[in-house]
């Protein structure tokens, strides 16, 4: 009974106001929704170990994971470009241009569904995709195991990370996934502000935060500390990529729907969107201001915003506070495998 009354009340509110007015929360109430988590979640069937993460890091940056031995995961997911490639859409095996922009791999430990269209349900499942894909790394997975087995240091690294199991495709995927979960954006000025330091961000950025949660309605989709609802929306971009509509063709709302990306370090990640079609953050905000292509799948949270030029600039100032002061990412020294000639000679002696 109580539930029924509550349901009716909420429905009445929802019907008489737009979602924007439902946001009549104070700045402090909104701030409470953006607190960083204190630890990284790892799944029970692939728990964190230092050895696994170390092996995963080595594999992530090793170009020998590709068929032609020259493309690593890090070629496209480059830490210098906030774990993307800075291109509208990247290039894979044989310099083939890819159909979609390389997304960042930041903060994926919190993400359940992966890819722009949700093709994979875990990082373990995903890791093997690009290795085998002919347009990306074009590597035969069985051959990869043989190649790795020929490199003694990899045998050791796998044996340490997976005692009594050693080198296998499943373990390779588990190690890469464990490493990817450690790729987390560090504390940004925004986090310092949330934690109570009023001087950490500018007044313009604070106004931008109010707009983000209010008039501009960005929080309808880019919600919480990681600035994503891990959901799929058609935001009305004009290209003809059908996104998640190809995975769930029977559901109209999924046509042209893509995964909401995190906005952490977004300033470093242009050009933007799955097709890399928007050059900078002003172009992004202008897109939202106009609300995109009208079609049945267009998200109901896309509405004309009528932002002033000053408001657009405040929003950009706010987005820039999400850039973290990360430590430089040291590149791992890869098992070389070639110094073996000397070792072999020694054995023969």
């Amino acid at each position: 009974m109580k539930k029924l009354i509550l349901g009716v009340a909420v429905t009445a509110i929802a019907a008489s106001f737009s979602p924007v007015s439902a946001a009549e929360k104070s700045r402090d109430e909104w701030k409470a929704e953006y607190v960083r988590p204190s630890s990284v979640p790892h799944p029970a069937d692939n728990p964190y170990t230092v050895e696994k993460a170390k092996l995963g890091e080595t594999l992530f940056f090793d170009p020998r994971l590709s068929g032609a031995n020259h493309i690593s995961c890090g070629t496209c997911h480059n830490p210098s470009f906030a774990w993307g490639d800075g291109l509208p859409t990247g290039f894979g095996h044989g310099m083939v241009r890819l159909g979609r922009k390389t997304p960042t791999i930041l903060n994926l430990a919190w993400s359940e569904l992966l890819m722009w269209d949700d093709r994979f349900e875990s990082l373990e499942e995903q890791a093997l995709g690009p290795i085998a894909a002919d347009v990306e790394m074009n590597q035969d997975l069985d051959e990869l195991v043989t190649e790795l087995q020929a490199i003694p240091e990899y045998r050791t690294l796998f044996n340490v990370a997976f005692p009594n199991e050693g080198i296998s495709i499943e373990n390779l995927a588990k190690a890469i996934a464990t490493y990817e979960r450690t790729v987390v954006s560090a504390v940004a000025p925004f986090d310092s502000w949330i934690a109570g330091d009023e001087l950490a961000i500018s007044e313009a950025a604070k106004r931008g935060f109010d707009l983000y949660n209010g008039k501009a309605n960005c929080t309808a989709c880019h919600s919480g500390w990681n600035f994503t609802d891990d959901s799929f929306h058609d935001i009305g971009l004009p290209d003809d990529d059908n996104g998640r509509g190809d995975i769930l063709p029977e559901i109209e709302a999924m046509a042209h729907a893509f995964k909401t990306p995190t906005l952490r370090n977004v300033e470093l990640r242009g050009p933007y969107m799955h097709d890399g079609s928007l050059a900078d953050l002003l172009a992004v905000i202008n897109h939202y201001d106009e609300d995109g292509v009208k079609r049945p799948s267009l998200s109901s949270d896309m509405k004309p915003l009528n932002l002033t030029q000053a408001e657009k600039i405040d929003l950009i100032f706010f987005l820039a506070t999400l850039t973290s002061r990360d430590d430089p990412v040291p590149l791992p020294v890869l098992p070389n495998g070639k110094s073996m000639v000397v070792t072999k000679l020694k054995v023969q002696e």
Binding site: K3, G7, T11, D229, D230, S231, A253, S299, S300
Partner: protein, 106 residues
């Protein structure tokens, strides 16, 4: 003869009880979540999905036991679905895949 009548009466009772029992449950969507994670039903029971959220949802299932798609559900809308087959039905929202409901139909 007698025995046969007994069976017939029992069967009728069972049948009557079966239909009388068909119940309708309500599952509410709020804050991009279902208010419950699991529910057990009898064959023939229904669930009314009520969107008490500020956001549009799209509830569907691709389960073998029962496939359905309620389509876009705007804030305030309700739609009911009857579960006709026994088994487990995984219900999701297409827009917000973190919204999950396990329906066990017995």
């Amino acid at each position: 003869m007698r025995a046969n009548a007994g069976v017939a009466i029992a069967a009728t009772l069972l049948f009557a009880a079966g239909t009388a029992q068909a119940e309708t449950f309500t599952v509410t969507q709020q804050g991009k979540q279902f208010d419950i994670k699991e529910i057990s039903l009898a064959v023939g029971d229904s669930i009314t999905f009520t969107n008490a959220d500020e956001y549009t949802h799209n509830i569907y299932s691709k389960s073998k036991v029962q496939k359905f798609n309620l389509g876009k559900q705007e804030p305030g809308a309700s739609d009911a679905i009857t579960f006709d087959n026994a088994g487990k039905v995984k219900v999701r929202c297409a827009i917000h895949p973190k919204m999950k409901l396990k329906v066990t139909v017995q």
